[in-house]
Symmetry: C2
DNA sequence: ATTTCATGCATCAATGATAGTTACATGAGT
DNA sequence: ACTCATGTAACTATCATTGATGCATGAAAT
């Protein structure tokens, strides 16, 4: 539990949802991730607010993807789950009174800000459709099958 | 205490040491950082092992810088303190059995690895001398004084 | 209508890492 | 000897994610 795995987890869940046209319950999704249904609902709640996914109660209820996979980037998902801190390292104090610390914060902060911008940009350049393609491509590699097929059975 | 501030803290301490030719005690260094002397010794222990700083016991003892500031990069310092995790986000499991998670890890991991490489490279491009210069430049800005002076009093 | 299923949400415990503190041993200098 | 300062172990505090439980809400099936 050392690192925040919400982005990784929600992407995992989304790809499973993308593979099934019918709604998937948070219990079913939680099983594939070996976690608790409440954890799944917690992260998906943020996506629901932005309209990326949809949830329905009662029999046959569950979660479905509400947007075209090509229209949602990893950055969109990252922001939907609350844009958690990307870096594990940071400053000692945000408002230092010491001139030395000001200089350290300035230099260190410049590197971190640049790295953050680039990472977010790289998240923005990958869509859920890309992720799905990577998944199917990986499956094809393992099965040593052709990569030109549009639809693979599960 | 949300983020790891060891790198920020140790750089702060190093710049203070660079300003004073005489050894500084961990108690004095801790005061400037508003922390505990043991915390200072803990982070500086890693630098001592690599020969970046030197410590001496007894009267007049304390910590001194043992290398030319221009020869030590921020990346050297980062590695000396144990190369702690840079990112707060990561995978759910490092050895997933699920093909979907494999794909997610591959795509997400690629972005993170690239960002890590770039961040470490940017750390490697900054030396302690650069940091010291940035500090003195900041002081000069505040004092509206010349920047061509070699030595500034403290 | 009642039962069943599934989400929505509040609340609390578990976990793991840094940060902070205390205590004591070691060694250098006066 | 006595004092100063590091070296290190051990413990507590803090904070965020994660996991778990309980209960209310609402939709579908019987």
């Amino acid at each position: 539990m050392s690192r925040d795995s919400r982005l990784s987890g929600v992407l995992h869940v989304l790809l499973h949802m993308a593979e099934q046209r019918r709604p998937l319950t948070s219990e079913a999704l939680a099983e594939t991730m070996r976690t608790n249904p409440v954890v799944v609902r917690r992260v998906l709640a943020g996506l629901r607010e932005r309209g990326y996914v949809q949830s329905s109660k009662g029999h046959g209820g569950g979660w479905t993807i509400a947007r075209d996979l090509a229209d949602v980037s990893l950055r969109d998902i990252y922001e939907a789950i609350g844009a958690p801190a990307l870096f594990a390292i940071g400053h000692r104090s945000e408002a230092p009174g010491c001139a030395v610390e000001l200089a350290v914060n300035a230099v260190l902060g410049a590197s971190l800000r640049e790295a953050e911008e680039r990472l977010l940009a790289s998240f923005g350049a990958v869509t859920l459709a890309d992720l799905s393609t990577a998944f199917h491509h990986g499956l094809a590699q393992r099965a040593a099958g052709p990569t030109t097929r549009g639809h693979h059975g599960h």
